[in-house]
């Protein structure tokens, strides 16, 4: 049995995360995204280590770049990262830091950590794929999925991108908002409403329910970008 096979299951994620210590401040931020990340890489995204440079790959952009241990663990479980690499994380010569860097870490599409950058980058990527007419071998259009936090949505740059994506009909773009109610002043009426009024298709699910998440990520191809609000509650 190879190392990769040993650490390739959902059940292995806690052990993989356990290899990275010393960022207790961001533990909550990381653990709230574990299930969403697993479902995306295990069931939704059409990207593997072999196709990581393919122009027609699906793209996943982690905008909420703080607390990336779940992200690194999923990338390791899926073979983008070597498992031993996790041990040295945040050391001077490690490609893995407390915020990911696309230039250093294999499989990482954007460098992130400063909030409010991923959604505009994702919109630009979606528009770029569309403008070039890029298609997969089966003729379908690659998609761009970006993960943002509910607290991160406080940043105004996200609202610029939410409005523009709706008007431009970027239906190859999916935003997943992990809602663990961490926004300082909250979002009256729910976060999804902010997207809906700008012309997005809204799906709200339990952020721990793998089958519900997989369904929610199914593209609608209705000319509208898709937002999946994944609710996470303490103890859930």
């Amino acid at each position: 049995m190879t190392t990769t096979a040993t650490f390739s299951r959902y059940a292995d994620l806690p052990a993989l995360i356990g290899l990275m210590g010393g960022d207790e401040k961001h533990d909550g931020a990381s653990l709230s995204t574990t299930d969403v990340l697993w479902v995306l890489y295990d069931r939704v995204l059409d990207v593997t280590p072999a196709t990581a440079e393919d122009p027609a790959r699906d793209r996943f952009l982690l905008s909420k770049g703080h607390g990336p241990t779940s992200y690194y663990a999923v990338l390791a479980a899926k073979g983008f990262l070597g498992v031993p690499t996790l041990r040295g994380w945040a050391a001077f010569d490690s490609p893995l830091g407390h915020h990911p860097d696309r230039v250093l870490a294999p499989g990482v599409e954007i460098g992130s950590g400063s909030l409010g950058h991923g959604l505009p980058l994702a919109l630009g990527s979606a528009l770029g794929l569309r403008a070039q007419g890029i298609r997969k071998a089966d003729g379908t259009e690659p998609r761009v999925v970006v993960l943002v936090g509910d607290g991160e949505l406080d940043e105004g740059s996200n609202h610029e991108a939410i409005a523009a994506a709706g008007r431009l009909g970027a239906d190859n773009l999916t935003a997943v908002v992990v809602d663990n109610a961490s926004s300082e002043h909250g979002w009256p009426g729910g976060i999804g409403r902010r997207f809906e009024v700008e012309g997005w298709t809204l799906r709200e699910v339990n952020g721990r329910d793998h089958a519900a998440l997989e369904d929610a990520f199914t593209p609608a191809r209705d000319g509208r970008p898709l937002v999946v609000v994944a609710r996470i509650r303490n103890g859930n």
């Binding site: 696309r102 950058h117 505009p120 980058l121 630009g124 403008a131 740059s157 431009l168």
Partner: protein, 299 residues
């Protein structure tokens, strides 16, 4: 320069499928034909300058060559963190093209002026900064930059020199002083004609560049070595002293004096009026440059 920029970009949008133009309303009327012909590659985001840079970064991540345009304060200052992270940190490129220069929009007041744009970009690694002095140079710079993947800033101005000069990384020498000359005057972009006039009766070498980053340190060092004194007067159309550290590096191996002319750093000029009146207030008109040159070169 703005018309030349629009004509050049409209043409390359027809010719090069890798190019995309990203706008935040400003100048969108100049690109209506291209927007109809290439709807996916002319992207007007509305008045959303942060998203404008982020979207450009995303386009570049998929292999496209984004050209991004607005007034300098909205293009560089408002989304500065996006420029740092969505382009530089992602290790992707774009061509940013500003209008307004330092005080071209004199009547509009401080909100539409950005004399600090080049100094601000100078805090980031990897940028090529062009300050054209003639519309033909704008066309040449864009044609050179578009096939690449790097980060380029082109700063359009309402002020132009009478004739275009070669575009490239090397200083252009317009006048060579004697072996006993007082030193070297370096004029940037649209400051050349008035600098030549202001120094006409001085024994100095006058050089010019429309590309300030990377800075031609070697070229300046050679000119200073050939002059009677290694004294350098820098005439820039934006924040005073923006390239002073480059002059210091270029002349680090020899005793020298240097003085910088440019837009005042220590005060905000609260005045409307015309671009020419602002130039005078900052000592950047011909008279002001002439007086500063005589003071500095001790004549």
């Amino acid at each position: 320069m703005r018309e030349t920029f629009a004509a050049t970009v409209n043409r390359v949008l027809d010719q090069d499928p890798r190019t995309a133009l990203v706008l935040a309303v400003i100048s969108n009327g100049m690109f209506r034909r291209s927007a109809r012909k290439h709807p996916g590659r002319v992207i007007d985001l509305g008045i959303r300058e942060q998203a404008m840079i982020g979207v450009a970064g995303g386009l570049a991540l998929t292999g496209m060559r984004p050209i991004v345009h607005s007034y300098a304060p909205f293009l560089v200052e408002r989304p500065f963190e996006q420029i740092k992270l969505d382009l530089g940190h992602q290790d992707v490129g774009a061509i940013l093209v500003s209008i307004g220069a330092s005080y071209d929009a004199a009547e509009a007041g401080r909100t539409h002026q950005s004399p600090g744009d080049v100094a601000l970009l100078d805090t980031l690694p990897g940028w090529t900064v062009h300050v054209p002095g003639h519309p033909d140079e704008v066309r040449d710079m864009l044609e050179q930059a578009i096939p690449g993947d790097d980060r380029v800033y082109v700063r359009l101005s309402g002020t132009t020199n009478r004739a275009p000069l070669p575009v490239g990384p090397r200083l252009n020498v317009l006048r060579t002083g004697s072996p006993r000359s007082a030193g070297v005057v370096l004029a940037v972009g649209p400051m050349l004609d008035r600098t030549l006039e202001a120094t006409a009766d001085l024994d100095v070498t006058v050089a010019h560049t429309a590309t300030v980053r990377p800075f031609d340190r070697e070229g300046l060092s050679t000119l200073a070595a050939a002059a009677g004194n290694a004294d350098v007067l820098l005439v820039e159309p934006y924040l005073r002293g923006t390239s002073a550290h480059e002059v210091s590096e270029a002349l680090a191996d020899r005793r020298h004096r240097q003085r910088s002319l440019g837009v005042a750093r220590d005060t905000e000029l609260r005045a409307y009026g015309t671009s020419a009146e602002h130039a005078r207030a900052h000592g950047l008109d011909t008279e002001g440059i002439a007086k500063a040159a005589r003071d500095f070169f001790l004549v």
